[in-house]
């Protein structure tokens, strides 16, 4: 179990690509998203699979439990989650001592690019790269569970 504390932003430009890794393909689906918990199954690069249980969000923090599971199980669970599926390529971008994750969404959410940074504590200072746009940490529409239920890119 870990507490997940993260801030989330829209991405303004492609300048992050020059410092990004090759990225990892992510397919994820939601078996549950309610007041108590979000239950997500995720497949990385068509080989590694994890199930993640997240508790309720409190501010920008939430409890997170994550376990590796057999790939075949994850495929079956994604079928159960249909059509609540999100596909994206996730890039890692180091900047000013922090690791940013830039998610380039595909499929039903193509066009959406979001950057997240995970923090040690909620009031940690963060130096924002100049490719960062508006903060959406508190905009539920950008939660991947919300995106999975609604095709398209949320309107600004």
């Amino acid at each position: 179990m870990a507490d997940e504390i993260e801030r989330k932003f829209l991405v303004r430009t492609n300048a992050w690509r020059s410092s990004a890794d090759a990225g990892t393909h992510v397919v994820q689906g939601y078996l549950s998203s309610n007041a108590k918990a979000t239950v997500r199954v995720r497949i990385y690069d068509d080989e590694r699979a994890v199930i993640t249980i997240k508790g309720p969000t409190e501010g920008i923090s939430r409890r997170e439990f994550e376990y590796d599971i057999p790939f075949a199980d994850a495929q079956d669970m994604l079928a159960l989650a249909e059509p609540h599926i999100v596909q994206k390529r996730r890039y890692t971008v180091p900047f000013a001592g922090l690791l940013w994750e830039v998610d380039v969404f595909e499929g039903a959410h193509a066009g959406l690019v979001v950057a997240e940074v995970e923090l040690e504590h909620a009031d940690q200072a963060v130096v924002l790269p100049d490719w960062i746009g508006e903060e959406v940490s508190h905009d539920d529409r950008y939660a991947n569970a919300s995106l999975s239920r609604m095709p398209g890119v949320p309107a600004r």
Copy 2:
């Protein structure tokens, strides 16, 4: 992943106790119970913990995925699941070549005793012990997820 096929009955008498094992104490909570999946966390005898994801019920069959998880994680998840908790003692009772599980509920559901038998296939013949009462396989009120949301013993 396994398909779970089971039938469930009320228990009429205590005659099963003479063939039962010592039983295992079970505390379980539900993080989710919706049309796609039920997500259950369960602690056995205050030591072993598992998380179980069950797909939608189709007749008396449903997909089931189960993983061992750290005990401390399970305690945290049960706290998230509050008050949707079920406590019971589960006994194993062999009869006519099948293993029956008799659940003696405690706490909010004290007084309820239910027997389940897991089958290889849905139309398998089952010899019923004489302590077996009415079948409740298709009565959603006896699903543990339903019980967790409603204290008391369902009225007959």
